[in-house]
Symmetry: C2
Subunit: 371 residues, 2 copies
C-alpha cells in the first residue's frame, strides 16, 4: 500500500497514522500461512450465541431486503426493559466500537483533553486521535486501572472524557461497586466517565455498580459481542443521560443497524437464560485456562471476563515470543501492547477442544521462547 497521502484530506486526516487498532486473526492466518485451530485471541465467545438468536437471524435473512428500523425501536425498548430504565436513556449502535467513535466525535475536537489508562482499549485511543483529541494516560497500578489517578489527572488537565473498562480489558480484573461509586463522585465538572462494561454479564453476581441512567457524569456501554456470543453482528448499546443520548441522533448512521442484526440482538436480549449459562461455562473455562497456565509454570491473573491474562514472568519481548509460538502452532491469542502489562499474554476462554489445543501448544511455545 504505502503510497502518497491524498492531497484532498483534511490536515487532521492527513496527520493520522495508517496503523489499525487490532490485526484480525484472518490477517494473521494469511500472513503466517496457518489455519488457527483455536481462536482464543479476540475475546469472542466460543460457546456461541443463543440458539434463539441464531433462529431469529436465519429468519430475518429472508427479510434482509428491508432496511432495519432506523429508530431501533423494538430492540431499544427491550434493552431499556432489561435494565429497568426509560428508552430515552438508551442508544443502540454498531458495537461499542461504533458508539465510542460517535461519542468521541460528539465531545472531542482539536486539542480536547482525554484521559485513559496506559495499555487500555486501543480502539478508544484510535477514535480520540481520529478526532484530534489529546490523550493522557495513567499507568496501571498492580495490574488494575487506577480510578483515583484517572479522575485526578482529568481534573488537572480539564479532560472531557475519562475512559475506564470494568471489568478490565486486557488484564481481566475489576473494581467493585464502591470504588466505581467513589470514582463517579470524583468526576470533575465538565467531564464524562466512559464506563465500558463489555464484560459485565460475565462478572460475579453483585460485583457491578448500580449507576443511575440519568447521572450526567457517566455513560455506560454494553455489548452483544461477549456473553451473548454475537461479535459478528456488531450490536452494542450505551446507557446515559437523556441529553447526551439524544445527541447521538445528530451524527449516527441512522440505517446503520441492519435488520438481521436487530433481529438477532432482540432474540438475544429476550433470552435471559443463555448469558447466564455462558457465564457458568466461562467461569469453568477460566479455571481450566488457569490450570493450563500453572501446569506450564506460568501465573494466571484473576479474571472477571471471558479471558485470562497469563503472566509469562519476563518482559514483553519474551511474552511476544511465547505468543508467536502459539500462533505458529495454530492457537490465536493476543497480548497487551505496553509495559508492564505486556509481560502477559491474553487468552480468551473457550470450549474444551480449543483449550485442549492451548494445553498442547503452550509448553512447546514456552520452551521454544526460553531456548
Amino acid at each position: 500500500m504505502g503510497g502518497m497521502t491524498d492531497p484532498r484530506l483534511t490536515p487532521l486526516a492527513a496527520s493520522l497514522p495508517a496503523t489499525v487498532p487490532f490485526t484480525g486473526p484472518e490477517t494473521l492466518e494469511r500472513r503466517l500461512g496457518v489455519a488457527f485451530r483455536a481462536r482464543l485471541g479476540a475475546n469472542e465467545s466460543g460457546f456461541g450465541p443463543s440458539p434463539r438468536a441464531v433462529e431469529a437471524m436465519a429468519r430475518a435473512a429472508r427479510d434482509a431486503w428491508m432496511y432495519g428500523d432506523p429508530e431501533v425501536h423494538e430492540l431499544r425498548h427491550a434493552i431499556a426493559a432489561h435494565h429497568g430504565c426509560d428508552p430515552a436513556h438508551v442508544i443502540v449502535g454498531e458495537g461499542i466500537d461504533g458508539l465510542l467513535g460517535l461519542l468521541v466525535r460528539l465531545v472531542v475536537t482539536g486539542g480536547t483533553e482525554v484521559v485513559t489508562s496506559l495499555g487500555a482499549y486501543p480502539t478508544f485511543n484510535f477514535h480520540v486521535a481520529g478526532f484530534g483529541g489529546r490523550l493522557r494516560t495513567v499507568p496501571y497500578r498492580e495490574d488494575r486501572q487506577d480510578p483515583e489517578a484517572l479522575t485526578g489527572l482529568a481534573r488537572e488537565v480539564g479532560a472531557r472524557l475519562i475512559y475506564l473498562s470494568n471489568p478490565d480489558n486486557p488484564m481481566g480484573g475489576m473494581h467493585g461497586p464502591d470504588v466505581i461509586g467513589q470514582m463517579i463522585e470524583a468526576v470533575p465538572e465538565g467531564a464524562l466517565l466512559v464506563l465500558d462494561e463489555a464484560y459485565a454479564e460475565l462478572a460475579p453476581e453483585g460485583s457491578l455498580p448500580r449507576v443511575d441512567p440519568a447521572d450526567p457524569r457517566v455513560i455506560r456501554f454494553r455489548t452483544f459481542s461477549k456473553a451473548h456470543g454475537l461479535a459478528g453482528l456488531r450490536v452494542g448499546y450505551g446507557i446515559g443521560p437523556r441529553d447526551l443520548i439524544s445527541a447521538f441522533d445528530r451524527v449516527r448512521n441512522h440505517f446503520g443497524l441492519g435488520r438481521v442484526a436487530q433481529a438477532g440482538a432482540l432474540a438475544a436480549i429476550r433470552d435471559e437464560e443463555w448469558p447466564r449459562e455462558v457465564a457458568g461455562r466461562v467461569a469453568a473455562a477460566r479455571d481450566e485456562v488457569a490450570r493450563i497456565a500453572r501446569a506450564a509454570g506460568l501465573r494466571p491473573l484473576p479474571s472477571c471476563t471471558n479471558f485470562v491474562a497469563i503472566d509469562c514472568g519476563r518482559d514483553g519481548a519474551f511474552a511476544k515470543s511465547v505468543l508467536e509460538g502459539l500462533l505458529r502452532r495454530g492457537v490465536f491469542v493476543r497480548m497487551p501492547g505496553v509495559a508492564p502489562l505486556d509481560r502477559c499474554i491474553r487468552v480468551t476462554v473457550g470450549p474444551g477442544e480449543a483449550l485442549a489445543a492451548l494445553a498442547e501448544a503452550l509448553p512447546d511455545a514456552l520452551a521454544e521462547a526460553q531456548a
Copy 2:
C-alpha cells in the same frame, strides 16, 4: 424529545439540528397506527435477495460469535474481481451511507466547500453538515442533475467534493457515459467527484460510464442494498484511487462489517444471475407503476432505477396530500424534499401484490387530495 444540549458537546456538535435524513416506515406505522401492506418508499428490493445469499447468512448466523474479518479480504477481492480491478482500489463498508460519512470526514472540515444538487441525497448533506462543511447547491434542470453547473460551481467556490447520483435518486433518470465522461474532465483541480451509483445494476445495458479506478478525480459507490436486495445487511463499497481508498483505514470502524453481513454480500456478488433477473423484474414493474400512474391521470417520469417518480401535476403541498392519502391506505411511499421536484411522489417498484395495493389506493388518495 427536546431537552437541553449536553454542555460537553463540541461547538460543531452542539450546532447540529436534531433532524434525521429519513423517517423509517416503522416510525410512520407507529405514528399513524397502520401496518403498511405495501412497502414502496425506501427503494428496497421487494424481489428479495439471492437465495444463495439467504442460505449464506443463515449458515453464518451460527458463526456469529466471531468478529468479521476486519480487512474484509475475501469480499473485497471478490468485488475487485467482479469489476476487474485491483483490490487496493476497493473499500467495503457499512452501506454507501457509512462510506459517505467516512469520505466526508476525511475531506471536509469547518468551512470546506461542497457542491451537490438541490433535492439530491439528504444523507450526503447530513454528513457534510455533520463535519462542518459548507454545502452549495445547483438546481435540477428538467428533472435531471446538471453536471456542467455542478462542476462550474465547484470551480467557482473551490469545492473539495461534488456529489452526483447516477442513476439519479430521487428522480430516476440518468446521464449517459459521454456526459459523465465530460463531467469527470471538468472536475477542478483539488476536487473529487462522488459518483453514487447505488442503482447501477438496474440501469440499461451500456448506459454506465467506464471509469478508471485509478482516476484521482472520481470515487464511485455501489451497494448491495438495491439490485442485490440486501438493504438490511448494510454493505456498500467504493472504487477509487489507491491513496484515497487507503485513507479510509485511518478512520473506519475496523470491525464494523460483521461476519453475517460479509457472508451474505459475498454470496450475493458471486451470484451474477440474481441481479440480472431482478433487473428484468424491476423493468417490468416500472412499466406497471407507470401504467397505474397514467390510469390515475398522472405522469410517470422515465426511470433507470427501482422506483418511479410520479408527477402529481401540481405543487408540493398537493403531492404531499396524495402521499399522505397513500400512507393512510397502507401504502408506504416517499417524495422529494424540495421544489420543483416535490410535485412528484416517488414510488419504489415491487412484486405484484404490492403494486396491486398501489393501484387500489392511488385513485382514492388522489381524489381525496383533489377534494
